[in-house]
Amino acid sequence: MAIKAKNQRLVLALLALVALVGAALLAMSALKDQAAYFYTPSDAKKDHVDVGRAVRLGGMVQKGSIQRLADGVTINFVVTDNVETVPVRFQGIVPDLFKEDSGVVAEGSFQPDGSFVATNILAKHDERYMPPQVSMKNPAMHESESLKK
């Protein structure tokens, strides 16, 4: 039985596609830990991140933890992933979206005492978009998915 050339090509192309997608997925799952953009407080503790190494620390700004010092440029706050917490100190200007109970990514390094000194602060927001009135009223919109990870 002769197989038509175009059917042969169809089968070959589909096999190549499956192999390609499989290879990409395998490569990406292997990258999973290396490609993470920041450490959570739990990861940082588990991996024993070296003191003084330039890293990013991400999580939520713990409610009630932001303190602005008297010099006007230094702030202290606590980053949490609801398991571990890390106290962070930063001198400079923070983004407008930097708020308590909201996502944050701090660039800097760990200190010998386990605290973190940030050289730059980025705000991370979640996937919800709504007008201010709705954010007060609608409880269904209160759950943040992406920041829980």
């Binding site: 596609l17 705000a123 919109m141």
Partner: protein
């Protein structure tokens, strides 16, 4: 799909369809962006800068949909040797690159007031930048291939292989911790309030129609060019 593989039949459909898609798209974009940029409510957290979404999200969608179109066309070209499939893939590449670039620029301008940075090398931003480079490489490769002749299989293979980046872009925010937020719209519903969602959907549809019109125009121009070349060749042979 096979009946459209005939260029004459394709042209008889594409010619009247182009203005409908183009003007329909322009109308929908106006219906979405005029209210979206001036009238709809601002975001509870981001304020007015959320309006960048009405351009950024359609641009991102078309950048990714464009390459998916290139991959499907390339597969059809490789399997069934449809001459029109190669033309379609080449026609998609330039507007695809354009919208990917628009996505990167609008995203960068959005990142500064919200995240506090124009650019960060996180999974989503990096994979989208790679898509932009893939488009540039594809355009260079396929225009060189078009010079060589119609039987251009190298850019078709590149079009299929490059499609591996599309699921990576999509899942980057789930697989890896990123600065970019997760998906707002999924199978479980939308995390965007209806008052902010409708301009987004209308604008996405409008830009998609405009994209289709651009692709049809480019395909018609390419077919016309091929016709002229064939005619010139015949004239010089006589």
């Amino acid at each position: 799909m096979h009946i459209f593989a005939n260029p004459a039949r394709f042209l008889s459909i594409a010619r009247p369809l182009t203005p409908w898609l183009g003007w329909g798209g322009a109308l929908l974009i106006a219906l979405a962006l005029i209210p979206g940029l001036f009238l709809t409510p601002s975001d509870y957290l981001q304020g007015e800068s959320v309006r960048i979404m009405y351009v950024h999200v359609p641009a991102a969608w078309l950048g990714m949909a464009g390459w998916s179109g290139i991959a499907v066309s390339s597969l059809m070209q490789l399997i069934w040797r449809h001459p029109l499939a190669a033309v379609a893939a080449r026609a998609i590449a330039v507007p695809g690159a354009l919208f990917t670039g628009l996505c990167l620029v609008s995203g960068s301008l959005w990142g500064r007031p919200t995240w506090g940075t124009y650019w960060e090398w996180d999974g989503r931003l990096t994979s989208m930048l790679i898509l932009f480079f893939l488009y540039l490489a594809y355009i260079a490769l396929s225009s060189a291939g078009a010079e060589r002749g119609s039987n251009d299989r190298i850019s078709a293979i590149f079009g299929v292989v490059g499609a591996a980046n599309i699921p990576i872009i999509h899942y980057s925010v789930e697989w890896w911790r990123t600065l970019h937020q997760g998906q707002s719209i999924g199978l479980g519903g939308s995390k965007i309030d209806p008052s902010l969602l409708w301009p987004l959907l209308v604008s996405t549809l409008g830009f998609s129609l405009l994209f289709a019109a651009i692709v049809l125009m480019r395909m018609r121009a390419m077919l016309a060019e091929a016709k002229i070349e064939a005619r010139l060749k015949r004239m010089t042979a006589e």
